[in-house]
Symmetry: C4
């Protein structure tokens, strides 16, 4: 399946995808929580970052190749964990994994993937497994074990979902999963909740509340740290104090993220939080970034402000919606081209050179409350 | 009376209420003074606050229960004092008090309530009495005495109304009280003024100017402090110097408020003033907040910036307008749900945990004039 | 002549005036120079100032009475110097002077008044004389002498017009003075230029360039200082170094002003410059303010940031346009009422109390270049 | 050819030109890279600068005459290097050079000029030669030699184009050079690429990528410095560290520029970078400025923030489009008049006086990342 028209940037892809997706699915992907203040602030804050390019540094062999979690990646990017790829294309996560493999980047398979982890991992991409802390603790153990067995290279524990944010688009749409989309890694019962229209509210939110354990705490991080030899990543860190504690717990990487504006409405834009996190962990663990990346320039901004790589979410689903593996590949190709162009124009022959770039930014996000240094 | 449609947030309630209220009443509730700069700035400033959520803190027993003025409340909220609830629903303040009782929060009965204080207090909600400093000083004494006798738990003296702000919507509308709405706690004569159309200006403003004493000063606060054993709350404090003096006078609580943008147009957004007040009183008296709260996230922002609770004004009237007690209950339920969701997503199992949250905010409100530390 | 409709604020007056004035006259009054960046910034900066009101200070005898240049005034306001009042009403400056007298405030008569200084001064208002530095130096001497003879209380030398700003509205309109409007204090020849349509550009600008001497310097200030015993005011100061020098020259008062956005497009908003000027002169000369005042709250903002009074320009002409003396009186009455309301709501019983108010403001005007302290 | 209507400012010229140019050419001139964030930020940042004018400094002999690269110029301006002037007018760079000569300012002839350097230089304007670092190193030598021979006064090496920015307007338009427009200084083969429509992307970008050498580095600057006695200018510096290094290499001048928003989208507005560059080089080399100048006031802003002159780009092409030499002359005349007006209104009798002006500015561009002092 080819794309209906040649997109030249990710905004094009978004528009094209919006035209082919059912409105409720488009909204499920696009929406944020509450009044979508954080959703909008993510973009405004990224657009507000202005980089100071360097010149005269011979970028003739410029490359975006790098390492992520200690292993080579063609780009400082990975596919973010997202639920139910089959909502947008029948090939679902298989297509995503193939596109990631072709692009040379890791794919993160979600606990709520719509195809089984093992099948997705078999596609041969570097695979990370995203873990939700389920009330069914046996299931948690089984999933981590399965991740190890199928060759996942990391476990990424999502720490910002004690329950789901209040996504008003889904509530207004009475959003439910269609019959043929299941949480393939979980038992059928949980999925049933996600498929049942409710008097009020989103079926997916109800499922989440039913399945996830809001008691998740640092003790659990320590336990999971001791239970698996895989690198451990915590996703959803915004406060430098939490970042420092994660580093002290031996966590291998953090994802600075506000869940794409889908959890606490009114949360700080992730990019505004990034420099503080970078300074707090001081190289003691890797810092990844997501929430709002829509171009290669956005990737460069995240690199300049302290990330070693970014996770790509919604744009991958837009690509999938347009053309399965081929559409997702288009998205990753556009990003790769944009990033390469931007690296060279900023005088960066290597991804690591971006860390030396200076940035100017909107003063819209200055500290209102005392910000004691992290001890 | 059931709601015509299921609102999923307070903005929905506002829209629904606007559709059923007479335009002049809708404007009387919605309007601010002058060019409504402060009215708009209240919302912009609250939207501009961005919180930094914490993670991994076990929020499985998250609760919004707290204390207000030393006694338990189900939520860090109370109904703000507002005049004439019967403007929007025949049950008026009785419906409001019932909704507050059901929600487990205090209701503040205004000097200008449209039903008698005693009847409202009899509904069994925690009741606070809002006092305007009347020229008729005997009436002031009588009202405080009545508040004590009917079981009010506090006297909240409004200190920002030497006279009413210039509310142009009311002036343009020639707003007058309808025949069946009276200031039930005052003499009939005063109400007559509020019901008489005037050559120019608002009848309600004329009534206020006639009835209220602009000579109110710190001496009067001390006098009232000595005259009643009830906790004393001052409503309408924005300058840290006034906050400190209130604490020194033995005032039990302050309400940081610009009267919802209805008094001095051009006054600082209340949320921008809040951190300075918190720092000035340093725990020597309780700090409440109002002016612009429209969601549970707004409540969380106020808590993070130093308030122990917020007063809810216009949204309660919108709910009343839609369905009396049931409509007001819907409003308070939405806020309770939103606040619970937000607390957990911010890693706060208790209301007091919110005080440790960091906040980023718009730099739009930085000091222009020297800000000497409060001595 | 009565007003066609009852305006409740100055914006109303502006709209009503716009409906009755010829478009080219309306534009001549409303317009700024260049892209009108400073014209717009004046308003944005004033709207961006947020005051912190005080409470509990007994404002029952609140009054806006004050002194200006050492003599009593009913309000901290004066009518700004403006050219050619007869452009908007046949009674011209006579009507303005009567309205000022009735309001108890000074009127400034311009060098380019459309009626003779002596006639205007005879109306009995406190009168200040605005002086343009004419190439015809004898005329300068004559005008100062006449000002003294007719009882003017001050000479206000305009220092920001070596030539006129590039007012594109006038250029596009090919604006010329109508036959019956003359520069009554100057010779007929000069006026002829102002009445002649030109191939390109504004006739009024051509006249200004012909008549005014761009060589005006501090030496001339010292000369005029030594030539008259009247208080000397410099109008158009924005840099604290110039303010300090003026104080050192024995100037009695400054007007912090960017000429209402009509001279250097891109000049700093006058209100943003005000605190720096106040600090630089430290009470050694009086500081007045103009440029953008449109409400009593704006007056209060100027007082809080360091002015002892403001000059009112365009709004007075709008009032004149609507109803001569009566229209101008309406404007001054609205301002007086708004200021009284605002003073009380800010806890200020006296104009001087406003100087203790704190202000928050937009960070849009922070120093880009080094700002060494004025020595 | 006369202009169809009398423009009174450069915005008028832009509108008039947009009406006569083919859409794809108009877009090729107007467009920026990516989402045009930097294109827009250039204008927003310039509009956000507010100057503090001085007064009483006798500007009767005010003049904008100055020196650029050590030689007299009638204005602190030069025509920026731009490709293919014949895209907009058949006289191309000859008309531009004549207009520059008439205005008394230098013209920069681009490597990608559409007429030969020698013919343009023969028009008698002060001529600078802009050099792209071509893969064909012999061609580089030949061009520098030719520049010397035809009397160019400087070589301006563009350092911010290792490859072209991703200009989406050109990509969407499938922009190709028309048959009669050639890169007259280069071989025919290179031009062919620029004329061939491609499956995806801009033909001009393809040509640039083919012809330019992205290996350009400081070594090459040193080499070119040693190969020619002409003054050497580096165009496209934004980081103070690069500015200092350029000064250390004996470079004669820098152009602080983000290539008019056409290279790295997300680059800092050039005007925001200017003060840091000025401070870094401390007078050790001349600092020129481009990117977004659209009025005489913009020129004054650049002077105040540290530039000794500005380069004019797009506005010259608009003028050319409207009327060849005559149109370009109109543009330069408008700028000269606006600058003269602005200088006097700011109290600057000379261009160098502008350096003492203070400026206020938007806080939108504050440092996000540590900004160590340049050693």
């Amino acid at each position: 399946m080819s794309l209906p028209e040649q997109p030249v940037c990710l905004d094009d892809v978004e528009r094209l995808a919006a035209a082919v997706l059912p409105a409720a699915v488009r909204d499920f992907i696009a929406g944020g929580s509450g009044n979508e203040l954080t959703l909008d602030a993510n973009r405004a804050a990224l657009d507000g970052v202005h980089l100071v390019p360097r010149v005269l540094r011979d970028v003739s062999d410029c490359t975006a190749e790098t390492t992520l979690l200690g292993r080579p990646a063609a780009l400082p990017m990975a596919v973010a964990p997202m639920a139910y790829h089959r909502l947008v294309h029948p090939d679902g996560e298989l297509a995503t994994a193939r596109a990631a493999r072709r692009a040379g980047i890791p794919v993160t398979v979600g606990t709520l993937s719509s195809l089984p982890l093992a099948r997705i991992a078999a596609e041969g991409a570097r695979t990370w497994f995203q873990l939700y802390w389920l009330r069914d603790r046996q299931k948690v153990s089984d999933l981590v074990k399965e991740a190890e067995e199928v060759g996942c290279e990391a476990v990424m524990l999502t720490v910002d979902v004690p329950w789901m944010g209040n996504r008003l688009r889904d509530v207004r749409n009475g959003f439910v999963l269609p019959e043929d989309v299941v949480a393939a890694n979980l038992s059928g019962g949980a999925s049933a909740t996600a498929r049942t229209a409710r008097a009020a509210g989103s079926a997916v939110a109800a499922h989440t509340r039913e399945a996830l354990d809001s008691a998740l705490s640092w003790r659990d991080v320590e336990e999971i740290r001791s239970r698996t030899g895989l690198p451990l990543v915590l996703k959803g860190i915004l406060d430098p104090r939490d970042a420092r504690r994660a580093a002290d717990c031996g966590v291998d990487a953090l994802v600075v993220s506000n869940h794409g504006g889908r959890q606490l409405d009114g949360a700080v834009p992730a990019i505004a939080a990034l420099p503080g996190i970078r300074d707090a962990v001081g190289g003691h663990c890797e810092v990844l970034f997501d929430s709002g990346v829509r171009s290669g320039t956005d990737v460069l901004k995240a690199l300049a402000l302290g990330a070693s790589g970014v996770l790509l979410g919604r744009p991958v689903l837009w690509g999938l919606a347009l053309g399965g593996e081929s559409g997702a590949t288009t998205v990753l190709r556009l990003l790769a081209e944009e990033l390469h162009t931007a690296l060279g124009l900023a005088g960066c022959g290597r991804v690591t050179d971006a860390q030396g770039l200076r940035a100017f930014g909107s003063a819209a996000f200055t500290a209102l409350s005392p910000q004691p240094a992290v001890p």
